[in-house]
């Protein structure tokens, strides 16, 4: 009994260490889990990009499941995810609101004009205040927000076809049913 323990205990400890290191290989240290998931989306009221005189706030989106996509014309990886958003808009499964993060409105408008505008509408967060409230630290980011205005999921970095098909869209469908 003690003899077995002499070699099995160090081996077990080594295997545990190995398991930790192995899992660590596939984790992105830049992805910090957001404390905002399953909490109400922070209150905002921002001017619309295309119609600066009008504003959009949380209350306007009550009752529907929607995506908030944080983007900017200066953001390089936003270009990577953009075709997916355009396809998503065409499918019309879920409204996507764009948050033009720390961007000049004219730059944002020009960017949308040349790359295609997949957004139901975009709102302007010129000084990044609302971004801070949403815990944005790397653009692009995408939030799934439910009918009651609660954040259900946060994608950090560009959307991928995989993330959309396996995580975001199933979640959206489930939330739309409830």
């Amino acid at each position: 009994m003690l003899k077995t323990l002499r070699w099995s205990l160090p081996l077990a400890l080594f295997l545990v260490l190995l398991a930790f290191l192995f899992v660590g290989l596939f984790r992105d240290p830049r992805e910090v889990p957001s404390p905002l998931v399953d909490k109400p989306a922070p209150a905002f009221s921002l001017a619309k990009l295309h119609r600066p005189a009008e504003r959009l706030s949380n209350a306007d989106m009550r009752g529907q499941v929607w995506l908030l996509n944080v983007w900017a014309s200066w953001c390089v990886s936003c270009r990577v995810e953009h075709p997916l958003l355009v396809a998503l808009a065409k499918a019309g499964v879920v409204p996507v609101i764009g948050l033009a993060y720390k961007d000049k409105p004219e730059d944002g408008l020009a960017w949308l004009a040349s790359n295609g505008d997949p957004y139901r509408m975009s709102i302007v967060d010129r000084d990044g205040r609302v971004g801070i409230d949403f815990g944005v630290y790397g653009v692009p980011e995408t939030f799934v927000i439910d009918k009651a205005g609660i954040i259900r999921y946060k994608q950090i970095g560009p959307l991928t076809a995989d993330a959309l098909d396996k995580t975001i869209l199933p979640l959206v469908r489930e939330l739309q049913r409830s």
């Binding site: 910090v32 957001s34 404390p35 905002l36 000084d127 971004g131 630290y137 790397g138």
Partner: protein, 148 residues
């Protein structure tokens, strides 16, 4: 003269308050992590977000929020990761006490090895008593050498 002092005080007070605030913010910001350059503190990071957060932190401080309030404000948005010193709570117990646990485990293993080793040596001595004539001879020789 008194008027002069009042004027000097009025002029000097905001500057002094600013210095105190700067020092306080500096020390607070060195305890906070920049989310963009994750191994830099908020105080030293050049990332635009760090700039914004420094501005935000200053505004909160000017509005009279305490350091704890400001920390709570950032943790609510970015999680415990913004704190360089992780808070003590059940999920971080292993982080805080793990090293001591390892140290204790090592100590126990070390003591066990030491104890077995002394037992072996003692056993060896006990099983090989100095009785044989050859041994007696060697012993006598050794004694003689020591006496010289």
């Amino acid at each position: 003269m008194r008027l002069l002092l009042v004027v000097a005080w009025l002029a000097g007070a905001p500057a002094l308050a600013d210095d105190a605030l700067d020092a306080r913010l500096k020390s607070l910001e060195t305890q906070l992590r920049c989310l963009v350059c994750q191994n830099e503190t908020l105080a030293e990071s050049a990332a635009p977000l760090a700039d914004d957060l420094r501005k935000e932190v200053r505004e909160l401080a000017v509005a009279g929020k305490s350091d704890d309030d400001i920390r709570a404000y950032l943790v609510a948005r970015y999680g415990d990761f913004v704190l360089y010193k992780p808070p003590m709570k059940p999920v971080t117990w292993l982080l805080w006490f793990g090293p001591f646990l390892l140290l204790f485990g090592g100590l126990v293993a070390w003591l066990a090895v030491l104890r077995r080793r002394t037992r072996l040596v003692v056993n060896e001595r006990a099983t090989t008593p100095i009785t044989g004539p050859a041994d007696q001879e060697a012993l006598a020789q050794a004694r003689a050498l020591l006496d010289e």
